[in-house]
Symmetry: C2
């Protein structure tokens, strides 16, 4: 399956093979650099390695994990590119999850004021989310993705084979963005997902294709996040803050797990604002807790989380912006809530009791 993102680039969702690399060769880069992490070097790189013969290829491996997605790692990467003699006419292939894609894309698009790059996302999360939209960057000042820019890759290659290299928990985490896309924009897809609480019998290529397509349509309407694209923030205003707050602790949540908490809280806010029905709220909450369990969010941290929301780049200092749901498949942007009501939504989350 291929999806064109306007005239800018093409997303291919299929096994990576000869065809991909002959397209890349036609572009006649002076060299290729591949950025990966320890995990993707071991499990994903071997699946593409045999297509690199005869090219000038430099590989750079960075430590794995979100906590390395910061300025110091960028400095190391830029230095590696210099030492390798890379130039603007090189191409950078980012082989990894969201950390590699966001950071590798940022490094590439600022190296000598910008070299081309191909995104090869290897996690479900990065395949359905970071692969489209052109958002690049790193964490800074304790705030996720707070330094970065918008820039398009020359191509996105999504290979579902990479998913078999991931632990179940990681797959489930990425699945939260699939759920989000359905909830904000596609009621039929939401109905389909109701059947998919077991994630081991899924036709990934089709499911990823549908999910990426939802995001693609939203992003094309609003490339720089001035309006319509805010739809994609559903679950993320609170979810990001929960994720950031727990980042340093023992009980840290994966991104999608935190977004699941955020989607529950923001569905409750949608209901409280007179938008989402009680029945729809229940359906969403039950579905998400069945998939993601119900980790408690420490109440002592609520004020710090509100502080983090204030730092979020979509918010100014004094109002917190939300995307609410009217019903599964229909959203509304530019809603707001006060810090008090936001804390109430987190208390609501902690007190949920699911009927077995």
């Amino acid at each position: 399956m291929t999806l064109d993102v306007g005239e800018a680039y093409r997303i291919r969702i299929e096994t990576i093979g000869d065809d991909h690399f002959s397209w890349l060769r036609q572009r006649k880069y002076a060299g290729w650099v591949i950025i990966m992490d320890e995990h993707t070097k071991q499990y994903c790189f071997p699946l593409i390695n045999n297509y690199l013969a005869g090219e000038q290829v430099v590989t750079v491996t960075v430590a794995q994990g979100e906590r390395h997605k910061h300025l110091e790692t960028c400095r190391d990467l830029w230095e590696e590119l210099f030492r390798a003699g890379a130039g603007r006419r090189w191409c950078c292939l980012n082989l990894g999850g969201g950390v590699i894609g966001d950071m590798g894309g940022f490094v590439a698009s600022t190296f000598k004021r910008g070299m081309d790059f191909v995104q090869i996302p290897t996690t479900l999360l990065s395949q359905v989310d970071a692969s489209v939209g052109g958002k690049l960057g790193i964490d800074f000042f304790g705030v996720k993705n707070s330094i970065g820019l918008f820039a398009d890759p020359v191509a996105v290659w999504i290979d579902p084979r990479f998913l078999s290299t991931l632990p179940d928990r990681e797959i489930r985490s990425g699945f939260a963005e699939v759920v989000k896309h359905a909830l904000i924009a596609d009621a039929a897809e939401w109905e389909r997902l109701q059947a998919a609480t077991q994630l081991d019998h899924v036709d990934w290529a089709s499911l990823i294709g549908r999910s990426v397509d939802i995001k693609r349509r939203i992003v094309l309407d609003d490339p720089l996040e001035r309006g319509a694209r805010k739809a994609l923030n559903f679950g993320h205003t609170i979810g990001h803050a929960v994720e950031s707050y727990l980042l340093e602790g023992e009980d840290r949540l994966l991104h999608g797990e935190a977004i699941a908490v955020g989607m529950i809280c923001e569905s409750w806010l949608s209901h409280r604002a007179g938008r989402l029905s009680a029945h729809d709220l229940d359906t969403i909450v039950n579905y998400l807790i069945r998939l993601y369990g119900h980790p408690e969010i420490p109440e002592a941290g609520f004020p710090a989380m509100i502080g983090l929301m204030r730092q979020d780049k979509k918010n100014d200092a004094d109002e917190i912006n939300f995307t609410f749901l009217d019903s599964p498949g229909r959203h509304v942007v530019n809603e707001t809530a006060t810090p008090e009501v936001i804390q109430e939504s987190l208390r609501y989350y902690n007190r949920i009791r699911i009927q077995p």
Copy 2:
């Protein structure tokens, strides 16, 4: 005088006043941040300070000079923006020379993936050069402007009053870009400049206007430096390397002084390649040495300078790219020279004897 850079933004060359700031107020930013250095804080900020009343304004001052145009200063600036509670709906005003414009623009366009910024260049160099073209960035790995990106400001305000705050040497340095613009694209302007070797009786507003207009036309043809814009590199391939090499020493040259050396060497290369006549070469060399003197470039450093040219973002590892002159006012891009011939041009420069 105002010049429109396509539909992207407008360059105003006139005294900054009420009109500028009422335009800015109409854009309804949540706050303004002003980035300046120690010098512009003392000498330039007072000229605009009285227009800021009633606005939420944060001022940030960085240490002065090219050696602070690096990643650590960016880190400080980003942190200051966070501490000030700045958001994407703020506007950043960069009040200073090329260092402040390049680095402040880079910081602004990567802060929370991009906030608006206004360039207020205060040196002649930044007024005629950095003010148009969208090139932003910092020095890294010993290479000038090697990390950065292309992004447009929302406006450029050039106020000739700022020039009276500068030492003569600084003015003369900036004037090298005025000379370059004439040499590559405007024979009539080159004739006019022949009369202007005394820089104390110049109608700056007109001269800057004509010079910026030359650059504006070239940049509009080629915003991302894929082709035509390489014209602007004249004098810079060698000049940048000379500047970088001498950066740490006692005998460092200002940017324009190094570019003057570069223009002499590259005029000689143009002549050697059978393009520029011996007469035109002599005229250019005499004019530049009369303006900039004749500092010797240490021959021991030639190999290191060649290495720096190889690092330049317009070059791949194995060929050095040049813009040559056919005659004053006419250039040709995508010429090359070998390291040996480049070193010969530097030796030519060192051996020039001007007839009084």
